[in-house]
């Protein structure tokens, strides 16, 4: 045990002296919650944005009634003349409406009168504002249509055989689930990013520095060496994950979620109880994978590929509505994500599920450590060392 601690202490000291790598290891955990707060605030601001639509109009004189109608609906109309580019005409407004000179004539002859709307679709605000304008113009068009039909003695009801009324019953919950998956996903990434640097430095780093030969010539088993190295990766994984979870939960609480219509129930202890055994597993996997690499760079590439695993699992659950059941729910990542989702959406948290998930993670972690120890003892290791 003292030899394991000897390796642990050395690796911890050695790794923490590489300030840049330590910082980049924990950057995800430190800045993740910050980015989350900013994103949530931005979203809330957008949702709460009830300012009037700014509409630039060219040829206002050809459709004064329409413009009056729009003003009446709360649209702020800015008159523009027919000069310059579309960009200059739109200016600060959300949308540009161009009324051509022939509009008046066609309109009075009850022929379809063309209007042109221009909008920058890459701007989300402007884009959604253009849909509001489309709806307003459609309503105006309906009013005119009703009047024209009436003038010709046809009741407008006659041309409306079906009146479909729709109601959205699933959106709120579904959106919460999607939102929760996205955010919890972030927690699943935390151990990957936090222990990556330490896992590489203690394994592939050792090979790259060519310090493996003198080390392996010491009276110490490769299991003790790997355990000491793994413990450093675990330390960073656990610290990073804890910062992420505590910071993330605080970010949720600080964010104006009510404006977004999202209610999430995040409990630090449930999250950590669920994630910390998983951090042990992630660190062990990373140590095992990085041990195969001969250089820091090679290990970094391989571990980045490994990081795609939770990304893919998360994506799968975001896209599909499948609820993991039985043994399937015990698969690492699947299980963790499921427990966190249940908890966040206010469902009952099964302590048994957390314990079982934790056990599975720890057992697999130990297997990875054992395989890594054997790998370290193989002659292959000395080839480039």
């Amino acid at each position: 045990m003292r030899k394991i601690l000897n390796v642990f202490k050395k690796e911890r000291m050695d790794f923490t002296r590489d300030r840049r790598t330590v910082f980049s290891s924990l950057a995800f955990a430190l800045f993740g919650p910050l980015v989350m707060v900013l994103a949530l605030n931005y979203g809330a601001e957008k949702a709460a944005d009830k300012s009037p639509m700014q509409l630039a109009v060219v040829g206002q004189e050809y459709a004064p009634n329409l413009v009056r109608y729009l003003s009446g609906e709360g649209v702020l109309v800015h008159t523009r003349n027919d000069e310059g580019t579309l960009e200059s005409q739109i200016g600060d407004a959300h949308v540009l409406l161009v009324i051509p000179p022939e509009f008046t004539e066609k309109f009075s002859e009850a022929m379809p009168a063309t209007l042109r709307m221009f909008v920058d679709r890459t701007n989300q605000t402007n884009s959604s504002r253009s849909y509001e304008l489309t709806e307003l113009i459609r309503q105006y068009s309906m009013q005119v249509q009703d009047m024209r039909l009436l003038a010709n003695g046809i009741p407008s009801l006659l041309i409306t055989p079906i009146a479909l009324q729709t109601g959205n019953i699933g959106t709120a919950g579904g959106m919460e689930k999607q939102f929760a998956t996205m955010m919890l996903y972030f927690f699943l990434f935390a151990p990957f990013f936090s222990s990556l640097g330490a896992a590489i430095d203690t394994t592939a780093g050792e090979r790259e520095r060519k310090s493996l030969q003198p080390l392996l010539a010491q009276p110490v088993s490769t299991r003790e060496l790997i355990l000491g190295k793994w413990m450093v990766a675990v330390l960073f994984g656990v610290v990073g994950t804890t910062i992420s979870v505590v910071g993330g939960v605080y970010a949720f609480e600080a964010a104006p979620l009510d404006v977004l219509g999202i209610k999430l129930n995040l409990d630090v202890l449930t999250m950590l109880g669920n994630l910390l055994p998983y951090a042990l597993l992630v660190a062990a996997l990373q140590v095992l994978v990085a041990l195969n690499a001969k250089s820091y760079k090679e290990a970094n590439t391989q571990l980045q590929i490994l990081t795609f695993v939770p990304a893919m699992v998360g994506m799968f659950f975001m896209i599909s509505d499948k609820t993991p059941e039985g043994l399937f729910a015990l698969i690492p990542i699947v299980g963790q994500l499921h427990v966190m989702q249940e908890s966040a959406l206010g469902g009952a948290v099964s302590l048994l599920a957390i314990i079982l998930n934790g056990l599975v993670a720890v057992v697999i972690a130990m297997l990875c450590v054992e395989v890594a120890a054997r790998k370290l003892g193989s002659e292959q290791m000395l080839k480039a060392a």
């Binding site: 000897n6 002296r17 030969q213 003198p214 010539a217 009276p219 000395l382």
Partner: protein
């Protein structure tokens, strides 16, 4: 005392060592002399238990490496062909870390490190990080790391490679001191002058086989030549013809 018995090591069809047997005795400097690729490093790695021989075995102070590699390594200091230092750690930290593998912790490890630093006259570099050390300084740290736990056997794989004249002289003096301490010293080399100057016993190895084993004078006599270089050429080419 290091005993090597009929070590053979193959990688597929390739022989890295065919038949290597010799003994390195206490209080003697034994040299493994051979050309590049003759099987010196393979033999040393087998003794340190870093690789498993296909046949044969090595014993360190009577403990078979194949039976109990960890126990066998307790009395072995190994200086590899690559010094492999940790750039962010000081020389002293290297020593306390390696002392830890020999159950020297805390003040005991500190004391062992301090003693080694004094023996190797490395006070000036002891508390500097090894990043940016010269080759000679790196060699010193690698050697100190193998000596800090006072092993009775020391193996060095081409330790003078890349060192300047002053560092080589220092190393020679140190090896002589260790010899007078009664330790077993085994080092590999292909530099005749160095071997002739230092070795009590020379084991000539070529093509993975030991072709001659004796004191430098015995070998010269056997080859009927005036210097070790000629003796080496004669003795290894006899083996070459025989093969």
């Amino acid at each position: 005392m290091i005993e090597v018995q009929n070590i053979e090591k193959t990688y597929g069809d390739v022989y890295a060592a065919r038949d290597v047997s010799f003994s390195a005795r206490d209080g003697e400097i034994t040299t493994l002399l051979g050309a590049n690729g003759s099987g010196k490093t393979t033999t040393l790695r087998c003794i340190a238990g870093l690789i498993k021989p296909t046949k044969g075995d090595a014993k360190i102070d009577g403990i078979a490496v194949s039976q109990d590699p960890i126990k066998a390594r307790e009395q072995l200091g190994f200086v590899a062909d690559e010094f492999g230092l940790y750039g962010r750690m000081t020389a002293r930290e290297h020593l306390t870390y390696f002392a830890g593998f020999h159950n020297l912790f805390g003040s005991e490890a500190e004391a062992a490190a301090e003693k080694t630093i004094q023996i190797l006259h490395m006070e000036e570099i002891a508390d500097r990080r090894t990043e940016g050390f010269s080759l000679g300084e790196r060699a010193k740290v690698a050697l100190a790391r193998a000596l800090v736990y006072s092993p009775s056997n020391i193996i060095l794989d081409e330790p003078t490679r890349g060192l300047d004249v002053m560092s080589i002289r220092l190393l020679r003096e140190l090896l002589r001191e260790l010899r007078s301490d009664g330790r077993t010293i085994l080092f590999s080399s292909h530099i005749m002058a160095e071997v002739e100057d230092l070795a009590d016993r020379v084991v000539m190895i070529t093509d993975g086989c030991v072709v001659a084993d004796g004191t430098p004078d015995e070998l010269k006599q056997k080859a009927n030549s005036h210097n070790l270089e000629e003796a080496f050429v004669t003795l290894t080419s006899v083996q070459g013809r025989a093969a």
